[in-house]
Amino acid sequence: MIGYHIDQVLRFHLRCYQLIGMHGLPLSSDVYPRQKSKLLNLWAGCLLTGFSGVVYMCLTSDDDFLYQGDNFSYFNDAMKFGFAEMAILSIYWETLSSQRVHLACFWQLYEALAATFKATPSVRTLRQQLLQHWRFLLIFYGTLLLELALLCVYVLMQEISRHLLLFWITFQPFVLVVHLRNTQFVLHLDLLRQELLQLECELILLVEYSGFAKDSASFAGFDEYLRRRVREKQMIYERINEQCTCFTRGFSYSVLTVLLMIYIRITVDCYFFLYTTFNNIINLDYYLLFPAILQIPIFLYASQTCMQIVPRIAYQLHNIVTGCSPVSLQIQNFSLQILHEPVRIDCVGIVILDNHLLTQIAYAVCTYMIFTVQLMPKLSGAYL
């Protein structure tokens, strides 16, 4: 790519993701991209084997990693580790495997689009960059700090038994990695949202301008000018859509497993929260669930806002005032293109990631809660 680079704030965070093995691509400013890419692959491989080793150790060891008291709790702890391993496997697999091609395509398109949107890249100060990415930054640092703060509070307050110590020491790294992955999704979605918004703004300008030209003044080449502008927007939309496809392809499996892991953890921990309160066991570790509960809505909201801009773009497009047949033909073409290429963010096609999924998850958690709460006295042995 010539001329334009990703801005500093983004570059810093991409470096962070490189550090935890989630962004397996060298940045455009790197001197030896090939060596860097190999190094990153190696690092991701090391992390993957490390995490898998921990899971293997926890599942096979006789020590108190998983709660040994009764079978049901043991099964649930094992399930948490099982899904965590699935998430880790898919995350690092995507870093290592062919999925990185899609990610590379995403960033390439991003750079190309950024170059078309911003004619003068050098003038943007750090402050402007921070303002541009404030949503992502808030989410990234907010959840991370909340997580760490809660962990500190937990370590200070809770009387830690051997099981709790072993379990949290082994499980917390998985939680952190999965939550960071979630923020990585949010980062990509936020960039998509910015691009879509920019496109919408430019279309609004065109609408205003076409109205102005219609009412007040027009000239010979105006229709042709308008048509070409619409065509440019059309090409930009095409690229954004391609970028979105790259996102869904590049992250397909890890979106699924990350959501599943968080969801399983919430369901299981909610049950045990009720169980311990029911049996008057003092355990504070359920406060650690709070960041996990935040993660799902954050991600789903980010993807929903992306998807919601597209109908508005179509609306603005049809607001363009014109009496000229080539322009209206172009607008028709764009409109049909939007119909063919809706921005649809889903995980492997299984479910569209919008707030509707959130209600479904809430329903499911409630239903399972009722089932398992019903099981509770039977499992605790009160009737036997």
Partner: protein, 533 residues
């Protein structure tokens, strides 16, 4: 279209091994010789009789299997929980039902299946005429891998269950081999569907690739145009098509915005444009986008230049020529969609039965695994659930079949939808009014011709179904386990009561002389009985 029909390899040539195997075990009734020499599937009466005979034979064997292994169940009935017993009874025949559905459907469809492949051959020829080649060679490899995996899974499940869980000292235990027949027949039948679907997907992808090639070619052509004449001021084209140079229109828009705000700075920028609009400041500024009026000429130029140099020619620059090509491709696309729908129609009942089988067996196998870990007896036909490892293999095999079909249908559907995107790329990159009209027309056509696969209309075969099914399986499993727990607790309560009853009876016998003790016993009995009632 006057040229002689080009030779394309028929798709069925890749199906040789699969067809012989299917013919042998009675999945398809079509004529063997015709297939071998002419690669066509034709009706055959002998094949039909053979297949019916095999079907009867399988049914007899399977019933024999159920009868001989059912002995154990009848003796175990007392110890089994009612729920386990009923589920076992309900699922006894599901494998057989699935197999019979497959075979009977194959018998009914024997004429139409041949037509389907004939239509695919015609499509291949039409694609060939558009220089759009479809490579069938990977299909034979695919079939071989699928057959190999089927054998590995079936043999592993059969042998490991037979060795570990069947009492093979009795000669009747050899009948256990029959238990693998329904799933094997079903898998063979589904391989036909999966591979044909894959072939359709390849055809969609070939169309998309042809369209993308047109786009890439045209982009190359445009950059070449720019390279030849760098003085020609077509910077907007360069910016659009080569992605490398940042265009100027953002500053134009800023400028526009200022213009709308009433600030006239247009004369600063518009110095290079034509002077004929200098009448009013607004009109003048409208004209000053840094380009604009020359563009029709540029368009004309880009259309004429390829005639001079043949090194870089783009079909997209000639709208009338490309119109025919696009039209043909879209017609082929429609035809493939129709073939997809027809294929879905042929296999709709088998797929429905497979999905039902997959859902029920998956749930039942997990439930029986739970029962087995609680040391409860389970129906003898599902004895593979006694071993967790075999259970995992069974589940992977069953769910693999279902999920693969769903995944493939989804992918095919996506590939068919992708054509519209590629078509629009063609339109935008060529930027020609005539072509826009064609593209708009075809785009509407494509929107109305999408292919979605479904199982008899009960549910669509796409990944969203998986979401629902997995939720269903989890809920049912929890409910079943809960009922099982409740039944077990009731049973335990009765047992403990009975033992208590016995001891109480003994105590009562020992202290027979006192009336008050027997009244105490009555009291105990009634209090113990009340919660049970």
């Amino acid at each position: 279209m006057s040229q002689p029909t080009p030779m394309v390899q028929p798709l069925l040539m890749q199906f040789q091994q699969l067809f012989f195997l299917s013919k042998l075990v009675g999945v398809l009734p079509q004529d063997l010789d015709k297939f071998r020499f002419k690669n066509v599937l034709e009706k055959s009466r002998n094949g039909m009789v053979y297949m019916l005979g095999i079907l009867m034979f399988y049914m007899v064997l399977y019933n024999l299997l159920i009868y001989s292994f059912g002995e154990e169940d009848r003796s175990l009935k007392a110890t089994q929980s009612t729920l386990t017993f009923v589920i076992g009874l309900f699922l006894t025949y599901i494998g057989l039902i699935m197999m019979v559905t497959d075979q009977v459907t194959a018998l009914f469809n024997q004429g139409r299946l041949g037509d389907l492949y004939e239509r695919i051959r015609v499509v291949d020829e039409r694609l060939y005429r558009e220089q759009c080649l479809v490579d069938n060679s990977s299909i034979a490899k695919r079939i071989r891998i699928m057959l190999l995996m089927t054998f590995v899974f079936e043999l592993f499940i059969l042998l490991s269950t037979y060795i570990m869980l069947v009492d093979y000292t009795q000669w009747l235990s050899v009948l256990w081999v029959v238990s693998a027949i329904p799933t094997f027949i079903n898998t063979l039948d589904k391989i036909w569907f999966a591979v044909s679907l894959y072939a359709l997907k390849e055809r969609f992808e070939a169309i998309n690739a042809t369209l993308e090639d047109l786009v890439a070619e045209h982009e190359k052509f445009l950059t070449w145009l720019n390279g030849v004449d760098p003085n020609d001021p077509i910077e907007d084209r360069a910016a659009d098509d080569s992605e490398s140079q940042p265009p100027q229109y953002d500053s134009n828009l800023e400028y526009l915005y200022k213009e709308l705000g009433g600030i006239d700075v247009g004369s600063l920028r518009g110095s290079g444009s034509k002077g004929k609009n200098k009448v009013s400041p607004i009109a003048h500024s409208l004209n000053s986008f840094g380009e604009s009026i020359q563009s029709p000429r540029k368009l004309l130029q880009s259309n004429t230049t390829p005639m001079i140099n043949m090194a870089h020619e783009s079909e997209l620059s000639n709208a009338t020529k490309v119109e025919e090509k696009l039209n043909n491709l879209c017609q082929v696309h429609d035809e493939i969609c129709e073939i997809g729908k027809a294929m879905n129609g042929l296999w709709s009942y088998p797929i429905l039965s497979l999905m039902a089988y997959g859902f029920l067996i998956f749930t039942a196998q997990l439930y029986f695994l739970y029962c087995a870990t609680r040391a409860q007896s389970i129906p003898s036909l599902f004895r593979s659930a006694k071993n967790p490892f075999i259970t995992v293999i069974v589940l992977v095999y069953t769910s693999g079949k279902c999920i693969y079909l769903i995944y493939l249908s989804w992918k095919t559907s996506l590939a068919s939808k992708r054509t519209g995107i590629s078509l629009h790329k063609c339109g935008v990159v060529a930027d020609d009014n005539l072509l826009y009209e064609i593209v708009n027309h075809l785009s509407l056509k494509l929107l109305n011709h999408s292919v979605d696969f479904s199982a008899c209309g009960f549910f669509t075969l796409d990944m969203e179904t998986l979401y629902g099914v997995s939720g269903g399986i989890t809920s049912y499993l929890i409910i079943l386990i809960q009922f099982n727990l409740a039944a077990q607790q009731a049973k335990d309560a009765i047992n403990s009561f009975n033992s208590f009853n016995d001891t109480a009876g003994l105590v009562g016998a020992a202290t027979e002389f006192g009336n008050e003790s027997s009244s105490l016993f009555d009291l105990v009995t009634t209090t113990m009985m009340t919660p049970l009632n």
